[in-house]
């Protein structure tokens, strides 16, 4: 439960229905907030592009449908920001680079089509870590988003701008992508919510691919319910996307029915918690205590292979990213940030035996995880092993590689990517200087409805979060 409340999708829906508010007014306030953040020093850096005329027209259209009593869904008239890693018609898709997206996208990516069909207003493109290949959000070549809790700190990445926009209250939901934690890391560091769905549950068409076996699209949001509303509008197979086909039918969620605490069986593993920084570990164990005291079964499990997920993920991501970027590299390598170039150079040198060994270990990790989730409903870890690191001048100017930060930000997040199982992050308090800490809840494949029901129950037990220093009550 939050000390202050960010406006949620359903808050907007309520005020639209009652006539207290309207999409055009909400959009004007959101645009003013964006202008305000751009005038700040340092600027928040959340947004790269906004087609104001089009956004205003869509807001008028939404208002007309609401006035006619014909909202398309609970998302009608709600602004949703989009990570600049998926095509939105009329925008460039830069993927955080200075050279991709030279031409305007002619059509919307699949997710954007589904969001528009649900009545959502596509509210511009947000900044990201270059090509999505990083967990800090630092992008010297383009724009580095600042953490609304402390603008001298990173947001985390790679969906950095999306996280900053939500945390600052500018919109209730934003699209992110996640190949190693890129939805959940910035969501945790910015004190908001994030969902990486089951691999293949949500289509990726029109998206800039980083690592084909790890990439997911999903929401960052102001609440668990917002994650569910986004999921309802976007989940399901797509006729042209092989990896979405054959999935079990989507269990639509609508209004979440929180799970009963006494029915929840929760596992955690010392090897994926005790090595976090002191404040993160402290809040993690506090959270476990609250959950156990409230009646859930909380059990410590020692696992052999799960901690290897990050390592298998690194090798997979580096290699697959080098492959997907291959054709860009020939001409544009020198235009990339130095940290991106380093990771891609390493990825180019991953040998076939190394990559294949990582895939075989992935299978074992998935097997062990699957077995664990047959006996437990969820598995929990801290989202990141650290809070938002400080932004250094060197990082902002020339880019920086920090081995400790890189290890800590994605230490626990890769598990959900290498297995493909869904995971959600919720805020779980702060450290002593007020930096947010996230709790990550993993569930079985295809069971997003159950996962979000449990997340909602656990969320109600978490301590209130403070208001960020940069916040707009739209």
């Amino acid at each position: 439960m939050s000390d202050f409340q960010r406006k949620t999708i359903r808050d907007y829906a309520r005020t639209y229905e009652s006539g207290e508010d309207s999409p055009p007014d909400v959009i004007e306030r959101a645009l003013e907030a964006v202008d305000d953040t751009r005038a700040d020093n340092p600027a928040l850096g959340a947004f790269l592009a906004l087609r104001r005329k089009e956004i205003r027209t869509r807001a008028e259209d939404a208002a007309a449908r609401l006035a006619a009593g014909e909202p398309r869904s609970v998302l009608e008239g709600v602004p949703i920001a989009i990570k600049d890693a998926i095509d939105v018609a009329g925008y460039h898709t830069t993927a955080g680079t200075t050279f991709q997206g030279a031409r305007l996208a002619e059509s919307d990516g699949v997710l954007i089509q589904r969001l528009r069909a649900a009545g959502a207003i596509i509210f511009g493109k947000t900044s990201l870590h270059e090509i999505g290949l990083g967990g800090t959000g630092v992008n010297p070549n383009q724009k580095t988003a600042r953490n609304p809790y402390d603008t001298g700190r990173m947001t985390g990445g790679s969906s950095s701008g999306s996280a900053a926009a939500i945390a600052a209250g500018i919109c209730p939901v934003a699209l992110g992508s996640d190949a190693g934690g890129s939805i959940r890391i910035p969501a945790a560091m910015c004190g908001i919510y994030g969902l990486k769905p089951t691999f293949g549950r949500i289509p990726r068409g029109g998206g800039a691919l980083l690592a084909w076996s790890l990439d997911h699209f999903g929401p960052l949001a102001a609440s668990v319910q917002d994650l569910a509303d986004f999921y309802d509008a976007t989940a399901g197979e797509h006729q042209y996307e092989e990896h979405t086909k054959g999935q079990p039918p989507v269990e639509r969620i609508d209004k979440i029915k929180p799970a009963n605490l006494e029915d929840i069986r929760l596992a955690w593993c010392p090897a994926m918690a005790e090595d976090a920084s002191t404040p993160v570990a402290h809040q993690f164990f506090e959270a476990l205590g609250r959950i156990g005291d409230a009646g859930a079964l909380v059990q410590e499990k020692h696992t052999e292979l799960l901690p290897l997920a990050q390592k298998a993920g690194y090798v997979t991501m580096a290699s697959e990213a080098a492959a997907t970027q291959r054709d860009w590299l020939e001409e544009h390598r020198h235009k990339l940030n130095l940290d991106t170039r380093l990771l891609l150079a390493v990825g180019e040198r991953v040998t076939a035996p190394e990559y294949l060994h990582a895939q075989r270990v992935r299978k074992l990790v998935r097997e062990e995880f699957s077995s664990l989730l047959e006996r437990f409903d969820v598995f929990v870890t801290p989202t990141c092993a650290c809070t938002a690191p400080a932004l250094t001048q060197e990082a902002l100017t020339s880019g920086e590689v920090n081995s400790k930060v890189n290890s800590a930000v994605s230490r626990y997040t890769f598990l959900a990517n290498v297995t493909g199982y869904p995971a959600v992050t919720i805020p779980a308090g702060t450290d002593r200087v007020g930096l947010p800490i996230g709790l990550m809840i993993h569930g079985p494949a295809w069971k997003e409805r159950d996962l979000l029901a449990i997340a909602a129950t656990i969320d109600a037990l978490m301590p209130p979060m403070p208001k960020p220093r940069i916040f707009y009550d739209i």
């Binding site: 690194y314 060994h357 230490r411």
Partner: protein, 73 residues
Amino acid sequence: MASDDREVILNGHALRAVVRAAETPLVGIGVKKRLFSQLGLDELFELDLREYMNPETILSAKPARHEEESADE
């Protein structure tokens, strides 16, 4: 398990030099190996998968390892 706990920070000229080395054909292999080692990937590559049954033949109802050993007696 955590990777190497020593913090290595590269920026500015030092980072540029490492990137140049990483992008150089033979030298780059050495950079990769060092970075992988710093990330703790030795543990991944040293894992002998024969001890876990070949992942490609895992069945959903596989016997526990101690049951397999007693079958040999």
